[in-house]
């Protein structure tokens, strides 16, 4: 039992001081979940969060916990093992919130498709607020997509000013 509790308590460990930003002007916080891909989308996200790209300057930050996030950023095909982890992350996020799918895998399963271990992508399962196709999408593509969020495409879903 102590093991089960250990898994549950750390899957989304409340570390640091991450808080949901108060509103417009604060960065839009993204909680990234890799749901079982090759890690390529994650690598491009890391590149985007590093120099010479300026993710912070563009108005975005990476949250350490779902509770401190505005948007869930998903990459990789959804493996059956990660599905409940994704669900728990979503439920831990405060409203209003949204979902970004980064990469072909997160959208429709990509090269991995659907089988005994993966459910494919999120496209036919949930409402996606931002699609970032590619295998993987480049940091520039991702930044352009994210910028479209701030331009108002799903502005109504974001924290009020």
């Amino acid at each position: 039992m102590r093991m089960i509790r250990a898994v549950l308590s750390v899957a989304f460990r409340q570390n640091m001081m991450a808080m949901k930003p108060a509103g417009r002007g604060a960065p839009l916080m993204l909680f990234h979940i890799e749901t079982g891909g090759c890690g390529g989308c994650g690598m491009e996200l890391r590149a985007l969060a590093s120099a010479p790209y300026d993710l912070g300057g563009a108005g975005f930050g990476l949250a350490n916990t779902p509770a401190g996030a505005d948007m869930l950023l998903v990459s990789g095909p959804l493996t059956r093992m990660m599905a409940p982890v994704l669900q728990a992350a979503w439920e831990a996020m405060p409203d209003p919130k949204g979902i970004i799918c980064m990469g072909d895998c997160a959208l429709d399963g990509g090269v991995f498709g659907e089988n005994y271990a993966t459910l494919g992508g999120l496209e036919r399962r949930v409402t996606i607020d931002l699609r970032l196709p590619g295998c993987p999408p480049t940091p520039t593509d991702v930044l352009a997509g994210l910028a479209s969020l701030l331009r108002g495409d799903v502005q109504d879903d974001l924290p009020p000013a």
């Binding site: 750390v10 990234h32 079982g36 090759c38 890391r46 010479p52 493996t79 093992m81 409940p84 090269v111």
Partner: protein, 498 residues
């Protein structure tokens, strides 16, 4: 009799480097392996047989045993790394390893709609819902200290893995990982696919190592076909593998520096990587060098510029490298933080059979490049680190960046602006096997072709041994350094889970 004689005394197969044993001879082999240091590379199953792969002076030597009532004698009593393969084989095929050291599930945590999904007749099972339950070994369950964990969703960018650990006074006691979160059924996807599609999949086993995987895959297919690619295509593959090593090592250094509270150093590594990518990506068509290799050759949108890019990368990298090294060594607290961290002991390296960069940083002389004809005139041993700590691994990563850059400089005039040739492959019913030195160590592929398609693919990476080594090396380390130790050892769930 020694292990080698036992294997070679088996029944020859159509594949010259693979022999078939009966169960008694296999058991004798397991006994012999307890004392024999024959390097073990992996164990896989095709539903009918199990196959174990060994290396003799960097050449493959495989041994096959027919499953009897779905069972076979385990190799794990003699080779610790076999544990992970045996657990995977049970989860995927339902084949049971008798006298195995560890029989906990590896991938199948009862969330799949069936059991033994790769078996001829998969079992029916009722998928459980909810988070996968961590199943500790007996040793872990009885260990003292509070239990904590890391993953599988910590907001980072790495593929998902869960590590449970006991801790006391801020130090890790026992650590044990639970994998399967990134298992996406690669073996099933490969089965029956066209070789081009199989190659695309192999490039997505683990990002950042795509050229190594796709090169080894293509070379294995070509070996099965009894064909080799022309000189220019071979040189192009070497150039791509060395570019990948430089990009991978810079990324890993940035990751380590970031986790060790040296953001400035991390930024420098990533900036240099991006500067190089500006040159590389128009030629390769992919920033992660995915799909640049194809069976029979390479696939490059601007192949005629490859030689020029090698030269330019060598120039950019060699100009920046001394400053990066100096920054690494002088950044306040960085080397001190890594020194003595995650030290790999020689006996653990031998026990799990890990080669590659991690072993080289502990003073071992192992590099697949030495045995590859492709590297003739290019390869030289990168030595000088021997204490096996995260600090040694970081400095070896930096050494290897410099070494790969000088290889690119030597390759540039040989590649020039020649267009790499492409071999048309005729696909017989045959097996092939090939290996290359990936960024973390040996990447090997075994393929079986049938009726012009892939019947079976087995892929060996250093990931299984790296995970076992990580569980040992993280003991007594500060809890907050657990992700840093993992990253310095090349622990990667995508490569492990497949």
């Amino acid at each position: 009799m020694d292990a080698l004689s036992l294997i070679r005394g088996g029944e020859p197969t159509a594949t010259p480097w693979r022999f078939r044993l009966d169960e008694l001879a296999w058991r004798d082999l397991v006994e012999a392996l307890r004392a024999d240091p024959l390097p073990f590379c992996g164990l896989w199953c095709d539903g009918t047989d199990v196959h174990a792969l060994f290396l003799v002076r960097d050449e493959p030597l495989a041994v096959t045993l027919a499953l009897e009532d779905g069972r076979y004698p385990a190799l794990s009593p003699a080779r610790a790394a076999s544990t992970l393969y045996e657990r995977a084989i049970y989860d995927l095929y339902g084949a049971e390893a008798m006298w195995a050291r560890d029989v906990r599930p590896l991938f199948d945590h009862e969330v799949w709609p069936c059991s033994s999904p790769l078996a001829a007749r998969p079992g029916v099972s009722e998928a459980r819902s909810g988070l996968a339950v961590f199943q500790p070994s007996e040793r872990f369950a009885t260990a003292a200290g509070a239990v904590d964990g890391w993953g599988p969703a910590s907001g980072g960018v790495s593929p998902p893995l869960y590590v449970a650990f006991t801790q006391s006074r801020g130090l890790v006691g026992q650590a044990e990982s639970q994998s399967g979160y990134a298992h996406r059924g690669m073996a099933l996807r490969w089965r029956g696919s066209r070789v081009e599609d199989g190659c695309r999949l192999s490039g997505r086993v683990v990002a950042g190592q795509s050229v190594a995987h796709q090169s080894a895959f293509c070379m294995a297919v070509e070996q099965a076909c009894g064909q080799t690619v022309g000189e220019q295509a071979g040189l192009a593959r070497v150039a791509l593998m060395e570019m990948e090593r430089v990009l991978h090592h810079l990324y890993t250094l940035a990751d380590m520096a970031g986790r060790a509270q040296a953001p400035l150093v991390a930024a420098h590594c990533m900036m240099l990587r991006e500067t190089m990518l500006e040159q590389i990506s128009p030629v390769t068509g992919s920033r992660l060098l995915m799909d640049c290799c194809r069976p029979g050759g390479v696939r490059l949108p601007e192949a005629e510029r490859l030689g020029a890019v090698c030269e330019s990368l060598a120039g950019i990298g060699q100009a920046a490298h001394p400053a990066l090294l100096e920054l690494w060594e002088s950044f306040p607290g960085l080397v001190a933080r890594l020194k003595g961290l995650g030290v790999t002991r020689a006996e653990d390296l031998a026990r799990v059979g890990l080669e590659g960069l991690v072993a080289r940083a502990a003073g071992q002389d192992c590099d697949t490049r030495r045995a590859l004809a492709l590297y003739e005139g290019l390869w030289r041993y990168t030595a000088g680190r021997q204490y096996g700590s995260a600090a040694d691994r970081a400095l070896l990563l930096l050494d290897e960046v410099a070494e790969s850059l000088s290889q690119l400089a030597r390759l540039a005039p040989r590649i020039g602006d020649a267009m790499p040739d492409r071999e048309a492959l005729s696909l017989p019913d045959a097996e092939g096997m090939a290996m290359v030195e990936g960024p973390w160590g040996r990447v090997a592929y075994w393929v079986r072709l049938q009726e012009g398609r892939l019947a079976q693919v087995f892929c060996h990476t250093p990931a299984a041994a790296a995970l076992l080594l990580f569980e040992e090396s993280v003991k007594d380390q500060p809890v907050e350094d657990l992700p840093l130790v993992a990253c310095s050892l090349g622990v990667n769930a995508a490569a492990l889970d497949g």
